[in-house]
Protein backbone atom coordinates (compact mmCIF):
# COMPACT_ATOMS: atom_id res chain seq x y z
CA UNK A 1 0.00 0.00 0.00
CA UNK A 2 1.76 3.20 -1.10
CA UNK A 3 2.28 6.03 1.33
CA UNK A 4 2.40 9.69 0.36
CA UNK A 5 4.56 12.11 2.33
CA UNK A 6 5.48 15.76 1.99
CA UNK A 7 9.21 16.40 2.18
CA UNK A 8 10.46 19.89 3.08
CA UNK A 9 13.91 21.07 2.08
CA UNK A 10 15.99 23.67 3.91
CA UNK A 11 19.14 25.70 3.41
CA UNK A 12 21.75 23.99 1.24
CA UNK A 13 19.41 21.09 0.49
CA UNK A 14 16.77 23.52 -0.80
CA UNK A 15 19.32 25.26 -2.99
CA UNK A 16 20.81 22.07 -4.38
CA UNK A 17 17.40 20.59 -5.19
CA UNK A 18 15.86 23.89 -6.26
CA UNK A 19 12.58 23.23 -4.45
CA UNK A 20 11.00 24.11 -1.11
CA UNK A 21 9.17 20.82 -0.93
CA UNK A 22 7.90 17.84 -2.88
CA UNK A 23 5.74 14.79 -2.43
CA UNK A 24 7.07 11.26 -2.41
CA UNK A 25 5.09 8.07 -2.84
CA UNK A 26 6.64 5.19 -0.99
CA UNK A 27 5.90 1.57 -0.34
CA UNK A 28 5.19 0.67 3.28
CA UNK A 29 6.92 -0.03 5.55
CA UNK A 30 9.48 2.70 5.22
CA UNK A 31 11.79 4.50 7.58
CA UNK A 32 13.29 7.96 7.83
CA UNK A 33 16.57 6.51 6.57
CA UNK A 34 14.79 4.80 3.71
CA UNK A 35 13.09 8.02 2.69
CA UNK A 36 16.35 9.94 2.86
CA UNK A 37 17.83 7.34 0.54
CA UNK A 38 14.94 7.87 -1.90
CA UNK A 39 15.43 11.65 -1.76
CA UNK A 40 19.12 11.26 -2.56
CA UNK A 41 18.35 8.85 -5.40
CA UNK A 42 16.12 11.55 -6.86
CA UNK A 43 18.69 14.26 -6.20
CA UNK A 44 22.17 12.73 -6.33
CA UNK A 45 23.92 16.09 -5.86
CA UNK A 46 22.68 15.91 -2.28
CA UNK A 47 24.94 12.94 -1.59
CA UNK A 48 27.96 14.86 -0.23
CA UNK A 49 25.69 16.39 2.44
CA UNK A 50 24.25 13.05 3.51
CA UNK A 51 26.40 12.38 6.60
CA UNK A 52 25.36 15.68 8.18
CA UNK A 53 21.68 15.62 7.19
CA UNK A 54 19.04 14.87 9.80
CA UNK A 55 15.39 14.01 9.30
CA UNK A 56 12.34 15.30 11.14
CA UNK A 57 8.91 13.66 11.05
CA UNK A 58 5.98 15.95 11.85
CA UNK A 59 8.38 18.48 13.33
CA UNK A 60 10.09 16.05 15.69
CA UNK A 61 13.65 14.94 15.14
CA UNK A 62 13.62 11.31 14.00
CA UNK A 63 16.12 8.48 14.14
CA UNK A 64 16.99 6.79 10.85
CA UNK A 65 14.93 3.77 11.86
CA UNK A 66 11.80 5.77 12.68
CA UNK A 67 8.71 4.72 10.79
CA UNK A 68 7.21 7.00 8.13
CA UNK A 69 3.41 7.02 7.84
CA UNK A 70 0.99 8.26 5.21
CA UNK A 71 0.54 12.01 5.34
CA UNK A 72 3.67 12.68 7.40
CA UNK A 73 5.56 15.92 6.99
CA UNK A 74 9.26 15.15 6.69
CA UNK A 75 12.01 17.73 7.04
CA UNK A 76 15.45 17.31 5.48
CA UNK A 77 17.63 19.30 7.85
CA UNK A 78 21.22 20.31 7.01
CA UNK A 79 23.55 21.26 9.89
CA UNK A 80 21.97 24.13 11.81
CA UNK A 81 23.43 27.53 12.58
CA UNK A 82 21.31 29.80 14.68
CA UNK A 83 21.70 32.20 17.55
Amino acid sequence: MPVKVKVLYFAQAREIIGKYAEYFSLEMPTTAGGLLGRVIESHPSLLPLRPSLRVSINQELAEEGARINDGDEVGILPPVAGG
Binding site: P79, V80, A81, G83
Partner: protein, 159 residues
Protein backbone atom coordinates in the same frame (compact mmCIF):
# COMPACT_ATOMS: atom_id res chain seq x y z
CA UNK B 1 7.14 48.58 35.90
CA UNK B 2 8.41 50.42 32.85
CA UNK B 3 11.96 50.27 31.59
CA UNK B 4 13.56 53.07 29.65
CA UNK B 5 13.80 52.04 26.05
CA UNK B 6 16.91 52.83 24.08
CA UNK B 7 16.16 54.97 21.07
CA UNK B 8 18.46 52.87 18.93
CA UNK B 9 16.30 49.75 19.22
CA UNK B 10 13.12 49.85 17.16
CA UNK B 11 9.77 48.82 18.58
CA UNK B 12 9.24 45.10 18.75
CA UNK B 13 7.11 44.15 15.81
CA UNK B 14 5.84 40.66 15.50
CA UNK B 15 4.14 40.04 12.20
CA UNK B 16 1.37 37.91 13.64
CA UNK B 17 -1.12 38.47 16.41
CA UNK B 18 -0.50 35.32 18.43
CA UNK B 19 1.13 36.20 21.74
CA UNK B 20 4.19 34.39 22.96
CA UNK B 21 5.59 33.49 19.56
CA UNK B 22 9.31 32.67 19.59
CA UNK B 23 10.23 33.34 15.97
CA UNK B 24 9.89 36.91 14.82
CA UNK B 25 9.91 38.30 11.31
CA UNK B 26 10.02 41.83 12.69
CA UNK B 27 12.69 43.56 14.75
CA UNK B 28 13.16 42.43 18.33
CA UNK B 29 13.30 44.99 21.12
CA UNK B 30 15.41 43.33 23.80
CA UNK B 31 14.18 45.78 26.43
CA UNK B 32 10.59 44.75 25.82
CA UNK B 33 11.64 41.11 26.27
CA UNK B 34 13.39 41.96 29.54
CA UNK B 35 10.30 43.81 30.76
CA UNK B 36 8.25 40.69 30.14
CA UNK B 37 10.33 38.57 32.51
CA UNK B 38 11.01 41.06 35.28
CA UNK B 39 9.07 40.04 38.33
CA UNK B 40 8.74 41.28 41.89
CA UNK B 41 9.60 37.80 43.20
CA UNK B 42 12.79 37.67 41.11
CA UNK B 43 15.97 39.21 42.48
CA UNK B 44 18.02 38.56 39.35
CA UNK B 45 17.18 38.99 35.66
CA UNK B 46 19.72 38.01 33.02
CA UNK B 47 19.45 38.78 29.33
CA UNK B 48 21.48 37.52 26.40
CA UNK B 49 21.32 39.65 23.26
CA UNK B 50 22.77 38.16 20.08
CA UNK B 51 23.58 40.56 17.28
CA UNK B 52 24.96 40.30 13.76
CA UNK B 53 28.72 40.77 13.81
CA UNK B 54 30.52 42.83 11.20
CA UNK B 55 33.18 40.20 10.47
CA UNK B 56 33.14 36.49 9.88
CA UNK B 57 35.97 34.19 8.81
CA UNK B 58 38.17 37.22 8.21
CA UNK B 59 35.70 38.84 5.84
CA UNK B 60 33.48 41.88 6.26
CA UNK B 61 29.83 40.90 6.62
CA UNK B 62 27.09 42.83 4.85
CA UNK B 63 24.04 40.97 6.12
CA UNK B 64 22.84 37.62 7.38
CA UNK B 65 19.69 35.80 6.38
CA UNK B 66 18.05 33.33 8.74
CA UNK B 67 15.93 30.61 7.24
CA UNK B 68 13.66 28.96 9.78
CA UNK B 69 11.53 25.80 9.87
CA UNK B 70 9.00 27.84 11.75
CA UNK B 71 6.58 25.30 13.19
CA UNK B 72 9.36 23.00 14.35
CA UNK B 73 11.35 25.94 15.76
CA UNK B 74 8.35 27.21 17.76
CA UNK B 75 7.78 23.73 19.09
CA UNK B 76 11.43 23.34 20.07
CA UNK B 77 11.48 26.73 21.79
CA UNK B 78 8.63 25.51 24.00
CA UNK B 79 10.59 22.33 24.73
CA UNK B 80 13.68 24.35 25.67
CA UNK B 81 11.57 26.46 27.97
CA UNK B 82 10.33 23.32 29.71
CA UNK B 83 13.89 21.98 30.00
CA UNK B 84 15.05 25.24 31.60
CA UNK B 85 12.15 25.31 34.05
CA UNK B 86 12.83 21.69 35.02
CA UNK B 87 16.49 22.41 35.74
CA UNK B 88 16.30 25.78 37.51
CA UNK B 89 13.76 27.63 39.67
CA UNK B 90 12.95 30.14 36.95
CA UNK B 91 10.27 32.75 37.53
CA UNK B 92 9.94 33.73 33.88
CA UNK B 93 11.77 33.04 30.65
CA UNK B 94 11.31 34.53 27.24
CA UNK B 95 13.24 33.62 24.09
CA UNK B 96 12.86 35.14 20.63
CA UNK B 97 14.85 34.48 17.45
CA UNK B 98 14.66 36.42 14.21
CA UNK B 99 13.78 35.13 10.78
CA UNK B 100 14.74 36.94 7.58
CA UNK B 101 17.50 39.25 6.46
CA UNK B 102 19.37 41.19 9.12
CA UNK B 103 22.01 43.90 8.67
CA UNK B 104 25.14 44.13 10.81
CA UNK B 105 24.29 45.19 14.34
CA UNK B 106 20.73 43.92 14.24
CA UNK B 107 19.45 41.85 17.15
CA UNK B 108 19.16 38.22 16.04
CA UNK B 109 18.16 36.54 19.29
CA UNK B 110 17.17 37.47 22.83
CA UNK B 111 16.97 35.20 25.86
CA UNK B 112 15.77 36.75 29.12
CA UNK B 113 15.42 34.85 32.39
CA UNK B 114 14.38 35.91 35.87
CA UNK B 115 15.05 33.92 39.03
CA UNK B 116 15.06 34.61 42.73
CA UNK B 117 18.86 34.68 42.69
CA UNK B 118 21.49 35.54 40.12
CA UNK B 119 23.37 32.22 40.00
CA UNK B 120 20.39 30.33 38.55
CA UNK B 121 19.51 33.19 36.23
CA UNK B 122 23.00 33.18 34.66
CA UNK B 123 23.08 29.40 34.31
CA UNK B 124 19.59 29.15 32.89
CA UNK B 125 20.21 31.89 30.36
CA UNK B 126 23.46 30.29 29.22
CA UNK B 127 21.83 26.90 28.87
CA UNK B 128 18.93 28.33 26.87
CA UNK B 129 21.08 30.14 24.31
CA UNK B 130 23.35 27.11 23.94
CA UNK B 131 20.30 24.95 23.27
CA UNK B 132 18.94 27.47 20.79
CA UNK B 133 22.22 27.28 18.89
CA UNK B 134 22.27 23.52 18.83
CA UNK B 135 18.69 22.40 18.64
CA UNK B 136 16.69 24.88 16.58
CA UNK B 137 16.02 24.22 12.87
CA UNK B 138 17.55 27.52 11.74
CA UNK B 139 20.07 28.19 9.01
CA UNK B 140 22.22 31.26 8.48
CA UNK B 141 23.30 32.59 5.10
CA UNK B 142 25.98 35.23 5.20
CA UNK B 143 26.52 37.89 2.56
CA UNK B 144 29.93 39.46 2.62
CA UNK B 145 31.02 42.88 1.41
CA UNK B 146 32.11 41.42 -1.91
CA UNK B 147 28.59 40.17 -2.53
CA UNK B 148 29.47 36.50 -1.99
CA UNK B 149 26.98 34.40 -0.07
CA UNK B 150 27.67 31.28 1.94
CA UNK B 151 25.77 29.06 4.32
CA UNK B 152 27.43 29.36 7.70
CA UNK B 153 28.86 26.01 8.70
CA UNK B 154 26.64 24.53 11.32
CA UNK B 155 26.34 21.42 13.45
CA UNK B 156 23.90 18.56 12.89
CA UNK B 157 20.76 19.42 14.79
CA UNK B 158 20.80 18.14 18.36
CA UNK B 159 18.07 16.06 19.92
Amino acid sequence: MTATRSASFPQWQVDDTKPGRSISKGSIDPFAVVEEVMDDSAGGTVVFIGTIRNRSEGKKVRNVEYQVYREMAERRMKEIETEVKNKWPVKKIRMVHREGRLPVGEVSVVVAVSCEHRAEAFEACRYAIDRIKGALPLWKKESNAGGKKRWVEGTPIEA
